[in-house]
Symmetry: C2
Subunit: 222 residues, 2 copies
Amino acid sequence: MEKFKVIEIKESVFEDNNRQADKLRRELKENGTFLLNLMSSPGSGKTCTVLQTIKALEEEINIGVLEADIDSDVDAQAVHETGTRVIQLHTGGMCHLDAEMTRQGIEGLGIDNIDFVILENVGNLVCPAEFDTGAVKNAMILSVPEGDDKPLKYPLMFSKVDVLLVNKIDTIEYFDFDLEAVRERVTKLNPGIEIFPISAKTGEGVEDWANWLRKEIQAWKE
Amino acid sequence: MEKFKVIEIKESVFEDNNRQADKLRRELKENGTFLLNLMSSPGSGKTCTVLQTIKALEEEINIGVLEADIDSDVDAQAVHETGTRVIQLHTGGMCHLDAEMTRQGIEGLGIDNIDFVILENVGNLVCPAEFDTGAVKNAMILSVPEGDDKPLKYPLMFSKVDVLLVNKIDTIEYFDFDLEAVRERVTKLNPGIEIFPISAKTGEGVEDWANWLRKEIQAWKE
């Protein structure tokens, strides 16, 4: 018996992704389900952050997770072990998810009694920034070892998201990473952005992030 | 006066990228110029590795560098400060380089008296794996903080390259990273691959990598 569903995502046939995204968002609103699109480079700690977020919220909120990857099921396996409903999406060679691909995931997961769906997007700072997935809010992770110059190099991603999580903050003493420079570069691109330094490994800062989510999930239901 | 050239790369008009790549490689061969395509996630240390490689080889080999990024000139600036010939390529939103885009860079750089060109590709583990740039050899960097599971998630990239540099090896004690597991996962995908653990920060392991390059650059000229 398979422990969690694995879906091989099909390429979208719709030309107007924005319209599909708005349609998905309306349906999520009617269902009272908040969809978060979580993006980052490979290895920034998306899955660890998902696990910490589940730990912080699972007693009060029904959570579902969509794990997107080119290949492999290791992330869905890690989430499955927490007892949270999860499915793995395989994108084949595709470097991002659009709204129709996200819909395939949402339908595969089933969201009847789910308040909060986390979509862990493909690890990539370029392509996912260009596609509205239908998410209510978009978040990205920049991890300390990646360096504080990333907002200069991948400006579209930093300008599109509602939240920036600066992860692996527990390793800041081992790397040349200027958090204030990141704040300055990011708010210049995106003045309204929320920034939370966290460590998905130690749990540092996760409560502030969880509080932001509580507020947004509640607001979406109203 | 501009210190180094910045080129806004145009999208290719050629449908058959493999043919364009073979054509570029033949021309490089005639010119005795070895082109290395260096790929990785954002923040794995491509530019630091380029700087260490220049330091190891500049007294014996004429080097040129193509720095590709969505935006910003910070990497070309860093290379320029070493006195090495460099140009910055801006890809706009494009997440990879193909052979025709690489040709625009090679022509912008000028390679008459250049033995070795390093192409620092866009930071991305997905798209660049799908396009032959015309390079003689392909290398990728996996940095320790990204985690040892990356070969499972981005198998195409790991299966396509000739060399894997495992960078930031000086930080291995701060992260859960199993180098032997990486070796096993990568050689399963790509039995002929060369693997060099390095630290582009401390210089550890760089000499083995430089020796491999010396041998390959020499062989290409014969």
